[in-house]
Symmetry: C2
Subunit: 421 residues, 2 copies
């Protein structure tokens, strides 16, 4: 480690311990202003300024949670590019480090228990994040209010174009046919359900336990004259009844919790049986791990990003066959880039709406997510699947990419095979 200026023993030792905890990231850690430390032989991408001794000690014991807490409080300041700084940490983070100490293990288990996704627990968890007020989300989401990974046909597409492209991409992956019945589990502000009904002539029953989102979605359906084709239900998707052709869920599996995958599979099977098909879109991982404990504490209580193998626990018990998995990780990094840019442009308004820690915490969450998708700490999986008796298996995927916007032509596409012809 390189030191500059006079440096008291305790502070030097604490900075060394912080680097031990987070790994040799190319960062400059600085106590108050003057004194600083950088691992040898690296050019720091940013400077982390720690404002007090208490924060130094917290960072040493539990950097994952304490960095978030102190950043939100203003006791830590990042000088330079926040996203690049977080990428540097993700890349140097010792593998298997998270939750290693007894204290960290205990707080992680405690959070698991406190935030468990029972019918009641889910309602509390979802309420805390999604009922922050539609006005808040309107400030930095796209005009349709889609709060999941977009699909950018090219990196230069606008966020509005990319969210519209994502909605349509999902419909094409599902090969929706006019008159079919679709159930959506976790429908956000209703954009996908409305897109499916409007452009594909299907009937949609869409579930969500966020009160504010359901009200907004119903209003939009009424405005568009789609209320007879889209029903928005304020209920847990575990209570779904009725028979459907298609099951779709975008950005919900993260909130289900791995303990409930078997019962989600059961719900799906009750809805679409052996002959239905569906799509799951969710944040995943290439190796087992829990979300940052700070994210779970402040942003997403009860969230868990599964590996592909873990996600199979939803599909395998009922012999649903995976037809297609696509990793859209680069698209989530790009989506977050747009969100963070809009968020930063609305700082003043957001600051006037909430306590001072709130915009800082959310900025860290958005920047940290962007860093996680850029470094591959998180992945975004879209899984298309079909039941063992489904007769709607696509012959190739070419139809997804040829003339992507020709919705009317697509319906006449006959290049689907009957599996047991």
């Amino acid at each position: 480690m390189h030191f500059r200026r006079g440096f008291p023993f305790l502070e030097k030792w604490l900075l060394q311990e912080i680097f031990k905890a987070i790994g040799p990231a190319p960062l400059r850690f600085s106590f108050k202003e003057g004194q600083s430390m950088t691992p040898p032989g690296v050019i720091p991408v940013a400077t982390i300024v720690i404002r007090d001794l208490r924060t130094m000690i917290g960072m040493m014991f539990d950097p994952e949670v304490y960095f978030g807490e102190a950043f939100a409080d203003g006791r830590i300041e990042v000088q330079g590019d926040l996203v690049r700084a977080l990428q540097a940490v993700y890349e140097s983070w010792p593998s298997g480090r998270a939750g290693k100490s007894a204290y960290q293990k205990f707080t992680s288990r405690w959070a698991d228990w406190q935030q468990k996704n029972s019918l009641r627990g889910s309602r509390a968890n979802i309420h805390r994040h999604y009922d922050l007020g539609n006005d808040f989300y309107k400030l930095w989401l796209d005009s349709q209010m889609v709060y999941t990974c977009a699909y950018f046909p090219s990196p230069s597409a606008t966020l509005e174009e990319a969210q519209e492209a994502k909605l349509d991409y999902i419909c094409r992956k599902l090969n929706l046919q006019p008159g079919e019945r679709v159930v959506e589990a976790g429908c956000g502000w209703g954009a996908l359900a409305l897109h499916m009904a409007r452009n594909y002539g299907v009937y949609v029953k869409a579930f969500n336990i966020s009160h504010e989102q359901i009200l907004h979605a119903r209003r939009r359906a009424a405005e568009e004259g789609l209320s007879d084709r889209v029903e928005f239900v304020e209920d847990d998707c575990r209570n779904i009844s009725g028979r459907f052709d298609v099951f779709v869920s975008v950005g919900m599996l993260e909130h289900v919790g791995i303990a409930n995958y078997a019962s989600l599979g059961e719900v799906m099977h009750r809805c679409i049986g052996d002959s239905g098909r569906g799509l799951l879109h969710f944040i995943g991982r290439s190796h087992k791990g829990v979300f940052s404990r700070w994210i779970r504490k402040r942003i997403f209580p009860g969230a868990y990003a599964p590996t592909l193998a873990e996600a199979m626990d939803v599909l395998q018990p009922y012999r649903y066959a995976v037809l297609d998995v696509e990793n859209l990780r680069p698209h989530y990094a790009k989506t977050l880039e747009h969100w963070l840019e809009r968020f930063d442009r609305s700082t003043e308004q957001i600051s006037s709406m909430y306590d001072p820690w709130f915009p800082r915490a959310w900025r860290l969450y958005l920047a940290g997510s962007m860093a996680a998708f850029r470094t591959g700490t998180l992945q975004l999986f879209q899984i298309s699947f079909a039941g063992p008796r489904s007769t709607s298996i696509p012959w190739t995927r070419a139809r997804l990419y040829t003339d992507a916007n020709a919705i009317t032509e697509r319906r006449e596409d006959a290049s689907w095979m009957h599996a047991t012809s």
Copy 2:
């Protein structure tokens, strides 16, 4: 059950027991000629004629193995469409039925042990199937001798076109760049290795433990003047050394056995490290299960088709991220249709080369595989993956489908992102 003509008690009981064992398939079982049985209310798709009492008893105890043995011996004859008859059985087969009795469990474990894929065991298992003689495989494979699932851009493509399309599809999925080094584990008669070197300017080291296949592959490389760019090594891929950019394996995972997935992952990591990428193409399942015990006994010793979740045991330990999974099940059914047709056209020649049971056993194996892919008993997965430090993550999959044959244009395609830009 409906009976016709006079029917002795024992034979009637045996036929009932056979239907209990295989499920109420829409088949007519007939003992010798005259006497027969069909489940009520179904129209039989074919008639299974059993020629002697011994076969009746065997079918009752262990229809999975005994049907194959008796069919190959000529003690069972199928009148009507063999593939449709086998589809009917797959569709009615009671789930979890295979290997349920103590006897069946014992024979299955015994086979596991006898056929285990140690370095020596693999050599014996592979020798038995792939060293049957190149002249035999030439009779019914395509001109390039590709013995894995083809890719039919449209269902009416020829087998030759579809195998060529498959080879190129894999190269495009891998985004091969001139000068890169590729390792292929299990290279068959060398078609993919030669295609990659010829059309993509890469260097290939290809492994195979089948002696006859390696000799053929080396001859082809010499004929094409590619010997300086493709090295065919007669060795187990577990002994690979050297550093590569890309790892590819087509139709080998089935022969590795689930107990060896961790060591295959280790081999991959030794070859391509954290920054490489690769593709696995293999026969899989949507639920856990073993290959037909008859197939393992007579055709593919040591074979196992994993679920997607099981296959992740190869990739997860080294944090390889799944980029893309495609299920090509309908394409394997179509490939097998072509193979069986060519096989049937060569019956006379094949009969002159082997014992009488051999062509019947192989006919059953090809027809049974076709039925398994048609009914979804088996799946065909192509998994593209990249290491945690790979900088070659495709932006979208569109480039796979636009102007698919323009190899030169493809190299100039710049729509690949650097994951950590």
